[in-house]
Amino acid sequence: MDSRARALALIAGFLVLGLVPVVAALTHQPFYLDLFRRIMIFAIAAVSLDLILGFGGMVSFGHAAYLGISAYAVAIPAFYGIDNGIVQWTLALGLSGLAALLIGAVSLRTSGVSFIMITLAFAQMLYYLGISINAWGADDGMRLARRSQFGPVVDLANPYVFYYVVFGLLVLLLWLGHRLIHARFGMVIRAVRSNEPRMQAVGFATFRYKLAAFALAGAVCGLAGALLANQTEYLTPSYMHWTRSGDIMVMVILGGMGTLFGPVLGAVAFLLLEDLLSAWTVHWQVVLGPLLVLVVLYARRGLYGLLPGGGPHG
């Protein structure tokens, strides 16, 4: 009963998201198209972080590094005239996944605070490298002269088409994620989070599973980065700064860790709040801070926990 109510709530949510362009067109407010598109792109990044943070218990403070790597993977080919979206995005996902694989290979040898610090350190290294390379704009960044080209049908320059591409990707990822979590792979990851020594005793090569999850999360975040580069038509190394990782983490927390759909809610809430509140007061973070503390302490399921059936037994 509860899970049916929750499924209905989620479907309603997706309907709303899917209808935003229609509402925007009817009310002559095309800005909402851009706003919600940006929200969905960060939702993809947040969902990818939830995979390792919420389900796997791996607190990566350097997740935003993959946003940056893939954004550059789109912009640098474009700079040299390679506009083909398939080439760019394959490069973006591939490089982010590879970077995550390498970073994970070193970081996952540690755990706890050391893990947090080393993931942060890697992201900072990439950030400082990024701002020192003048050929690619350093911290002035790079422009994307043209959005990724996918042929005449899928024209990302058309804001509606672009919106539905992002929407479609988000839905697809959530479905795939849902399947993954309930498949053997996902179960192993969750079990490793609960009790790694036991899983090892049972015979699982836990390091490999964690690394695979880490690399996968990096690649999916890479997709978000490619989309973000297209959305803003601009990128800077600040996409990789640890405070960006913090932002994405806030979205996951607010939305509900380990819930997969929660981070979408978290992205919506955080970015909407940021847009609304910052118009009223510059001090909005004085509210956000304690709110986060409260959510972590008393509402582990975050916003997702507010949905029917999303409570303690969800």
Partner: protein, 404 residues
Amino acid sequence: MLESGAWSDNKEGPVRILKGGVVLALVVGLLIGPAGAADPLKIGFITSLSGPAGIIGKHMKDSVELALDHLGRKVGGVETEVIYGDDQRKPDVGKQLADEMLKKHKVNFVSGIIWSNVMLAVAPTVTGAGTIMVGTNAGPHELAGKMCHELYFTTSWQNDQTPEAMGKHMQDQKVTDVYAMAPNDAAGKDMISGFKRYFKGKIVDEVYTKLGQQDYQAEITQLRAANPKAVFVFYPGDMGIQFLKQYAQAGLRDQIPLFSVYTVDETTLPAVGDAALGNFEARYWSPDLKNEASQKYVADFKKKFNYTPSYYGAQSYDGILLIDSAVRAVKGDLSNKKGMVAAMRKAEFKSTRGKFTYNVNHHPIENFYLLKAVKGASEVEMQIQKTIFESHKDSYYQDCPMKW
């Protein structure tokens, strides 16, 4: 493990209703929002209001408000609304703000922007939508050269002009054995290369430091060991405050003269105090510049806000006056973009820098002065010592294809 600490069962119902109400209010608030204002002239002003750079945003916002006061809240004779946006120093947030101002608030002008990288994301968005952009600080060379645009104007400068001026001064003074320092990022490298465009003397060393570095003791020790006759630095914001305090603390203040750009100004002087005394800066404007518009601006600003304005503010003030001259010229017909552009090119308004002339790339041709930090009546202040450049043009205008 995942389930611990969720909302307690008893409170679920009422709390859920409360949260649902909040969400509903948010959605309604978004839809209705401030979009329904009836004012005919809207200016979107984007700057950094939160975070450590918020002090600069404050200077700019306060100056815009003063300009509006001086114009009787009517820019160009038309009732005006200024919509402020906080870019949080992030280009993607800046772009989203620009989109919001263009599409939701339907502004007639977009103005402001402190940072070059935010400008490079925002300016093409604004000009691409056919709206006039009046930048009031950032001066990336792309927008002065190849990417110059009919609808893009700036009231500040091109980033390189300021270090060029300092380079010329030090070259003219036959200063030699210069030790140059800057952060290791695009701006830092641009400043040093701009400096070297006019300074042809001996540079003992070029040292680039980590962006945001707090402790410069190691670099200061190296500097002392290298025995330079002058030091040239670019350290904006909090980096400058730290560097100056540590430079003074190391006893170098009186030993080796310090020349800088964008390092010592009215946003950082209150925090540095005496440690800045004797510092030289190059700038196109200073609060003690002697012309009527500037004196009025500074006096009224101090009276209204109780602190000394900086060049960030003067530029923003000029931006509003520039827009005012344009709207006045077309007699309030905001659809006449060509007319407004033509009027802006003429720049017939009382600028805080005195006579205001535009170059072909919509960047000002202006004087640059040598400033020195001296003890004023009650606090340390910048005072003009001499003019370095008269009617200095930037180094990129020849790449700009515009002709008029």
